[in-house]
Amino acid sequence: MRHSTFFWFFLPTGLAMLLFIAFPIVSVISQSVFTPHEAVFVESENCGPFGCTTETTIDQDATAALREAKPLGQFVGLQIYLDRGHLATSEVAAAWRSTDSMGAFFKTINNLPFYRAMGFTLTYTFTVTPLLIILGFAIAVAVNSLHRHLKGLVIFFSLLPMIVTPLIGSLILFWMVDSRGVLGNFLQWMADDPDLSLKASTGLTWIMLIVYGVWHSAPFAFVVFYAGLQTLPQDTLESSRIDGATRWQQIRYVVIPHIMPLVTFVALIQIMDNFRVLEPIIGFNAEAHARSLSWIILNDLNGETQLLSSAATTSVLTILGVSILLSPVLVRTWRDFNSKA
């Protein structure tokens, strides 16, 4: 295909991505180093018979002129990155100096909003991802041994938790584990504690969100692994059986190596998606105990006064986090491409 033909074919989609993904990233980065102008104040002295008073008023014209002259706002460099709402360098340094044990240090750090959100986001990502891979694999192996007619039905029901809107799925579970809901009642009966509420404790809230995350994403792993099992080399499996491999050994030495590339694929997609966790926190009404990076951004943008600079800063930090998580994959893709060429 000639360059010019390629250009015309690719132009519409390229333009869409350039205007609504690439430019916004630039805009987000620039917003994170600028703050809106403060109003220009003028002090005027009013002298009357009872002495002089100074009055401070906003100079509307000067403020408008300043905003006109520098529409981006006031350049503040990395100031927003370092403030208490984000990286909080001075608070961290102070905590490092004043605390004598690592435990106490982390406890102080954990009270800073950004680090708390980071802590939850990473915990969520790295507990949900392995758990859903294990559960998805177990379902795939079990379904694979089912009778042909049952498979379709099982796949239909298995897809539901994944297909359903995340906010809706989490609301449905939230109503069930509510202390008046059916699962909530059941748990109270199990724990023999009529006041048990999953919403009241941080630990239980986190577990609830993680369970939701696994429930929501396990079907994806299941479907991918199930497809992988269909292409299992039957003769390898059979010869391992003739060599006397037990069922477990067949899975361990034949099945798992065969689907390992798929495990990497699922892990990659799921790390990407779990890192942006937001809807379950809203659905489970869990923001008192668990906040993610996405939640902080939403909160900044949704408030009475939109804190654009603060949201932009968190966005940039989130993008950096995603890039760090994904860098191994990119390096691998790059190597694959070069080895092919």
Binding site: M1, T5, T13, A16, L146, F156, A227, E238, I242, T318
Partner: protein, 293 residues
């Protein structure tokens, strides 16, 4: 012989069946429970006193004379005007899917037929864009959209969703077009077609299976999106998902949780139908990316 060797001991097959049954209950029970409960009153749906009330609808019978009531649906659809959000969702989904498939097929076709090095970089850029949480882009939109006075309306949201959708669409369609033999359109070009004519008369007739699969996922993205629609739509233009999120704030305090339950069930129903009819395409779409990787 092979089947003899493969025969499972009874204990294992019981265990495996039991595991599947438990998983099916986990996957399906919440939906069935909520569907059943959406026709009850709140005191039955959340019954502290006796959980069987939620099944029998004891309180609902007391209040409405029958164990089922459509009061929640009436409240959501008529009183809270949920139908507006349903129409908005339909508009957003229809245009997002159509536009993103149009752009995506052209781009994906070009990527699959060009052997130059920039194809790799474009695909990598798309992968990076795909990895970015959409909400991180929103603060970049807001200022401009306010300045141009286009914030809050449906077309803006549609365009943003189309753009966010492009990276995924491109990857899917690129790998799909690669499976269509090159000889097909190249012979058309030899016969005197331009590239676009070859695309129009040779590729378009055979591309529908891949396009439908990709379209399903575009639809799901637009339908399920929360972050972008919440932040970019004005209150009167809300789609279903932000409308339900807003219900949570308002109805919970007014004791109208059942409105939200009814709205949630209403929003889940189309997805059920979708999975029922397109199960095969969804499964093949999920695995399409994986088998390559």
């Amino acid at each position: 012989m092979a089947s003899q060797l493969n025969k499972k001991p009874l204990a294992l097959s019981l265990f495996s069946t039991g595991f599947i049954v438990i998983w099916l209950i986990l996957a399906a029970f919440p939906f069935i429970w909520t569907l059943w409960g959406s026709f009850k009153v709140e005191l039955d749906f959340f019954s502290k006193a006796d959980w069987t009330n939620a099944l029998t609808g004891a309180r609902t019978t007391v209040e409405y004379g029958s164990p089922f009531t459509g009061a929640g649906y009436h409240g959501a659809w008529v009183q809270e005007e949920f139908w507006r959000s349903v129409i908005n969702t339909a508009i957003v989904c229809f245009f997002t899917v159509t536009i993103s498939l149009t752009l995506g097929t052209l781009g994906g076709y070009a990527l699959s037929r060009s052997g130059f090095k920039y194809v790799f970089w474009l695909l990598i850029a798309a992968l990076i864009f795909r990895a970015m949480p959409p909400i991180t882009l929103v603060s970049g939109y807001l200022l401009q959209f306010f300045n141009w006075n286009v914030w809050g309306i449906l077309p803006t949201t549609i365009i943003v969703l189309v753009a966010i959708n492009q990276p995924f669409t491109l990857w899917m369609l690129h790998s799909f077009f690669q499976k269509i033999p090159k000889e097909l359109d190249e012979s058309a070009i030899v016969d005197g077609c331009t590239r676009f004519q070859a695309f129009r008369y040779v590729i378009i007739p055979v591309m529908w299976p891949g396009v439908i699969t990709t379209g399903l996922f575009s639809f799901l993205l637009a339908y399920n999106d929360f972050a972008v629609t919440t932040l970019l739509l004005a209150e009167e233009n809300r789609t279903m998902v932000p409308a339900i999120a807003a219900f949570m704030g308002t109805t919970q305090t007014e004791g109208n949780v059942m409105f939200a339950v009814a709205a949630v069930v209403s929003a889940t129903a189309p997805l059920f139908v979708l999975v029922m009819f397109f199960q095969r395409q969804i499964v093949s779409g999920l695995t399409a990316g994986a088998v390559k990787g």
